[in-house]
Symmetry: C2
Subunit: 344 residues, 2 copies
Amino acid sequence: MNSVNLKQLAQELNLSVSTVSRALRDSWEISTPTKQRVFDLAKKMNFQPNPYASSLRKHRSRTIAVVIPEVANNFFALAIKGIETVARGKGYHVLIYLTNEEVAEEVAIATSLQSGRVDGVIMSLCGSTQDTRHLLELQQRNIPMVFFDRVCEGITAPKVMTNDYESGFVATEHLLKSGCKRVAHLTIAMSLSISSKRQQGYIDALRRYDLQTDRDLIVHCGNDDAANYRMINELLSAEDRPDGVFASVEKLAVQVYHVCRELGLRIPEDVKVISFSNLVTASLLNPSLTTIAQPAYDMGKEAATLLFRRLEKKYIVVPDDRVMLPARLEVRDSTAFISAVPCH
Amino acid sequence: MNSVNLKQLAQELNLSVSTVSRALRDSWEISTPTKQRVFDLAKKMNFQPNPYASSLRKHRSRTIAVVIPEVANNFFALAIKGIETVARGKGYHVLIYLTNEEVAEEVAIATSLQSGRVDGVIMSLCGSTQDTRHLLELQQRNIPMVFFDRVCEGITAPKVMTNDYESGFVATEHLLKSGCKRVAHLTIAMSLSISSKRQQGYIDALRRYDLQTDRDLIVHCGNDDAANYRMINELLSAEDRPDGVFASVEKLAVQVYHVCRELGLRIPEDVKVISFSNLVTASLLNPSLTTIAQPAYDMGKEAATLLFRRLEKKYIVVPDDRVMLPARLEVRDSTAFISAVPCH
DNA sequence: TTTATTTACGGAAACGGTTGCGTGACGAGA
DNA sequence: TCTCGTCACGCAACCGTTTCCGTAAATAAA
């Protein structure tokens, strides 16, 4: 354990604890020679102030929490990297909590954060979150929160998002322009605003091209990979199977690839695929995957920046600003236009 | 801020602070009816004990640190997930620190951890680490450490590793058995034991097949992606280019794919590729990538388990045990055997 | 010379929970 | 009736830092 503390420094220097404390914080109340003596000894003894004593006294922990559904996913991993970069630059520490898409875990985590362990929270909701009382309670404890990507519409807080509606529209339109007549949409937890926005973009794009929305073409996937596989398999095995698939998340696109391989469907000849995704290997897939790529790293940085802006102001000035970072459409082979006569 | 504390509970109940504290910790010294009254009110007032006060007094923070080079990488992401799962199951909190492969950052992080902020550290070295004084200092502060994957041989501490030597051997042998005559090895920071072990496996496999080690076939890559690309490009552009490449990390394999595409080299006909990798999309690549997959999630869980075993014992019983979790060879198309006459 | 002001530092009370020790009440055994 | 032990709880010190005061000495102003 770290045993060198202020008292020991003070004794050694024949100073009081308060003087040493002030000297280390470079207070103007302490003379330059005294400060120098303190600095020197602190360095020599490798003094590290006890963060818990400091936090207890100051009611500030210089720690933030990041609460996300998963980490084994390029989007969230990059977001964490952005957050950590900003946080450490500001001298803050980052606690990480994974909900595993389980609302019960999200509630447990939010409840434990009420203890004041962190100065602020950066969060992306889990898919099964409906009731948001646990988040309101956090808010009532005056713990600043910032949402990113999977934002909570019911809470007044800064939010960092992408243009999900437009991206959903663009993705669908891209499939239609590439020659698709029947476009399916694979979605996740519809309680998430990103899901409904992406879906609305999908629906509106269809309407724009005078196409009806076929409820059978909207597949609601969940956290059970095997179940998702079955649903996608069923979708693509059907007589009137779609000739284009718009996946709202990466893992569903991966499943589509597997199902197509299983069923002997060719991408893009038989089915075209587009997906929200931050896969680094999108361009190396067989065929390369057309993606809607979110600026994950920048979203993380932005979320952290917004949080620190609130933490550093005494009064809350920006309670509900939204930052919109646009996603990019990256066209690749999985949506390549195929001339009328199949060349195979 | 969280304002309900023990004193308020005590006042409300006409009890002393110490009695309330003991009741909440379910001490046998407190009568059942009193405990019940305390529990009820604590629940009603949504009491959350201040973790910093507790940590200060008990010299235990129930917090661990995870220090890794990067997170946007399936291996480390999965490891984090494993660690977080175990940690939260034990009621611990997880701080995350990214070194970005910069030894200066690793030193800064290690130094800040001397403050006693965490009860223990789980670590994977950054590639540029040579001097390990910062780690020794942590150790001298009696902060238990556990290494995983990129372990530090100079420090006596539990280590969770994979069979890097054997895997390097198997990977190389697999290329040779698939028909390769000139096998190159792409490696990273040779100061890392995993790198030298994998390389030794490579060298010994060549020797086993009566092949000389050609120094030009061992390419030392770094953190500069552009520079790596150039080196790989140079390797594969040469007159006597290799017909097989064993990449020690995932990102280098991805670069090989890009270079081959650029140079018009066919995988596996012209060049076969194998790599250490945890890519979920390995089987979907064009062509699918033969990998050595490490059990990342289990390694994270194991590292956390070892750490908690040390944290929960009063006396250190297992100072330097090593856990070896074997990697799996997953054969795919990038190393497919091609019959003598090219069919293209 | 006296008084006001600044400079440089010490004393001590917080912060909130934990824990060693002390103690009154009560029942049991002698 | 007296003693002893157990039960159930209170008192207060303690963890290490911060910060509100207070104050002696030195300097400036009157």
